[in-house]
């Protein structure tokens, strides 16, 4: 990986909700900014839970999260306060982030005052700068959230996160609730801010197209584990995991020329309370063989900077066909399916 020491190191992270292992042994590094790590996966893959664990919003059952070399779980008092300032989160739904009874200005000033950066009364000029920085009219400070569009509210949420000068942002599906034009503008804003503020971020999304322009590295998650990780361009150009290939092929594209052969995965994402034996992806995998049913693949290096958890990764990387007739002997479309994973 990068020669520089990582800003955030996640090692062997496990998060459990009762019997469910929402995150099951995940290790990831985030380099100092400007740097983006995309966490990509579907519902139940554990991507949001990793983001929450980084913020200490959910406890880790095992493993470690280190920020600037310090174990985050051990932070107390002043250090914890500093950490909570250094790491900020932007959620999917800006409606739930902002207090509907609080004007935009005071909502941001509260963050500034809470961290002792600027007293509430003197926050005015800082507020105007922040709103301008995220592309909003400074006069929006006197508006209520309901007087703004979804995209504008998300800008306010970003301004508030930036107000305390964080070093790491967790962006949890920041554009999924927005209309397509608002989404494009927010992605543009993130791209601009990362350069101007030298930001490092974890970008959590189900949309591979969103990470492709904003992240140096991608980790593809499946049922709480890393299926594959590596540099964005290489990973998208030649996935080494069949799930990544399927995910990549499922992204709709405007240009017919950009569409790859659709690999349709049959069956639902598996039940996290009762994960499949062997490789957790095997019930949906078009390449599954006997070995996959019994032996869980470990995450291993397949190319410089690239890790993959698949027994047949070499074949996938070499471009073995995943679609078409060869599927029929390995999967049974319409076979009884397990109950759905829990939401969220």
């Amino acid at each position: 990986m990068a020669a520089l020491a990582a800003l955030l190191e996640i090692a062997g992270l496990e998060v459990r909700f009762g019997p469910v292992r929402a995150v099951d042994g995940v290790s990831l590094d985030v380099a100092p900014g400007p740097f983006g790590l995309g966490l990509v996966g579907e519902s139940g893959s554990g991507k949001s839970t990793i983001g929450r664990a980084v913020l200490r919003l959910v406890p880790a059952a095992a493993g470690q999260i280190r920020f600037d070399g310090a174990d985050v779980a051990g932070l107390r008092g002043r250090e914890l306060r500093d950490y909570r300032r250094a790491v900020q989160i932007v959620f999917q739904d800006p409606d739930n982030t902002l207090d509907p009874r609080m004007r935009v200005g005071p909502a941001i000033a509260e963050a500034l005052a809470a961290h002792g950066i600027v007293p509430r009364r003197e926050a005015g000029p800082r507020l105007r700068d922040l709103l301008e920085e995220v592309g909003l009219d400074p006069d929006f400070a006197s508006r209520y959230p309901h007087q703004l569009s979804g995209g504008q509210r998300q800008r306010v949420a970003i301004a508030r996160a930036l107000s305390v000068q964080p070093r790491l942002l967790v962006l949890d599906e920041p554009t999924s609730a927005l209309d397509v034009r608002a989404q494009a503008r927010i992605l543009e804003l993130i791209g601009r801010l990362r350069g101007e503020r030298s930001l490092a971020y974890l970008l959590i999304t189900h949309n591979l197209a969103v990470v492709s322009e904003l992240c140096e590295q991608i980790a593809v998650l499946y049922l709480g584990r890393v299926a594959e990780s590596g540099p964005t361009a290489e990973l998208l150009a030649a996935p080494a995991h069949p799930y990544t290939r399927a995910l990549r092929s499922a992204v709709p594209e405007i240009a017919a020329s950009a569409r790859s052969t659709r690999i349709v995965l049959h069956g639902e994402p598996p039940d996290a309370t009762n994960p499949p034996s062997g490789c957790v992806f095997h019930p949906r995998c078009p390449l599954a063989i006997e070995r996959c049913v019994v032996e869980s693949p470990s995450l291993r290096a397949i190319a410089p900077g690239r890790l993959v958890a698949c027994h047949r990764a070499e074949e996938v990387l070499a471009g073995v066909a995943l679609s078409g007739a060869e599927q029929s002997d390995t999967v049974q479309p319409g076979a009884p399916q397990p109950a759905p994973p829990p939401k969220g």
Partner: protein, 256 residues
């Protein structure tokens, strides 16, 4: 034209929210209606279903199904058409099923309501479930025991079981994971080619429309600003709003 909308106006009091000069869906055709929130695309769906009045809107103009005027039909007649001739699926399939009933019971009740006997209904629903690649065993489950993708397919199966000719699909995949979305899109394509179903596919996602639809109409502020064959609109949009929407779609690789 199987479904033909002409001079449709939907308004709330003095405020007009939909003004569609012309929009049609042919036999076995999938037409995309693209637009952002508030553009009036969902109100158009409600108007076609004869449900716009339930949210306080008034409808004027013409909506024809196989040449038969729907606007102004008495509720009694509309109830017979809704579901059996024109079916609809929505963004959140969990809202379409009553959580305290097994999904199979909901499906059977709907079919019997449209005049089928118990055994006919059971046979049709089982067959329709297989047609959407689901095991009929899932009919015994409650909505909470199915995933979003499974529920959406049950909703589609219901339309299939009722032999609906026109399916109004209002953002049917927006709440689904991308691999599940791919499955539902494939299913819609199959219904079109296998059963000759006509689909009006409403979505904010132009990339999905590009892959699925034969023709597309782009809606802005209640009016259709541009419509035509999908490839033509995607490769050479004439209206600046369409061009703006197209530019906004994130793509893994931009080619050309």
């Amino acid at each position: 034209m199987r479904l033909e909308i002409t001079g449709l106006n939907v308004r709330f009091g003095a405020r007009s929210v939909v003004n569609v000069d012309h929009l049609g869906v042919d036999d076995a055709e999938i037409v995309g209606l693209a637009g952002e929130s508030g553009s009036g695309k969902s109100m158009t769906t409600l108007a076609v279903l004869g449900l716009a009045n339930t949210v306080g809107a008034t409808v004027a103009g013409s909506i024809k199904l196989d040449g038969r005027e729907l606007v102004g039909l008495p509720e009694k007649v509309l109830i017979g058409l809704r579901g059996s001739r024109i079916a609809a699926i929505f963004q959140s399939p969990s809202m379409a099923f009553n959580p305290v009933f097994r999904v199979g019971d909901v499906a059977l009740r709907a079919l019997r309501r449209h005049g089928l006997t118990g055994s006919e209904a059971t046979g049709r629903v089982d067959q329709a479930m297989r047609g959407v690649l689901l095991s009929p065993d899932l009919l015994r489950r409650y909505p909470s025991q199915l995933s979003g993708g499974q529920l959406q397919r049950v909703a589609i199966a219901l339309a299939v079981a009722l032999r609906a000719e026109v399916l109004l699909a209002d953002e049917p995949t927006s709440a689904l994971d991308v691999t599940v979305q791919a499955e539902v899109l494939e299913l819609l394509r199959e219904l079109r080619s296998r059963d000759g179903m006509s689909v009006l596919f409403i979505s904010h996602d132009l990339a999905v429309i590009a892959e699925l639809c034969d023709r597309v109409a782009v809606m802005q502020a209640g009016s259709i600003v541009e419509q035509g064959p999908t490839d033509q609109i995607m490769s050479g949009p004439q209206h600046p709003y369409t061009a703006d929407l197209l530019r906004s779609v994130p793509a893994i690789e931009r080619r050309g």
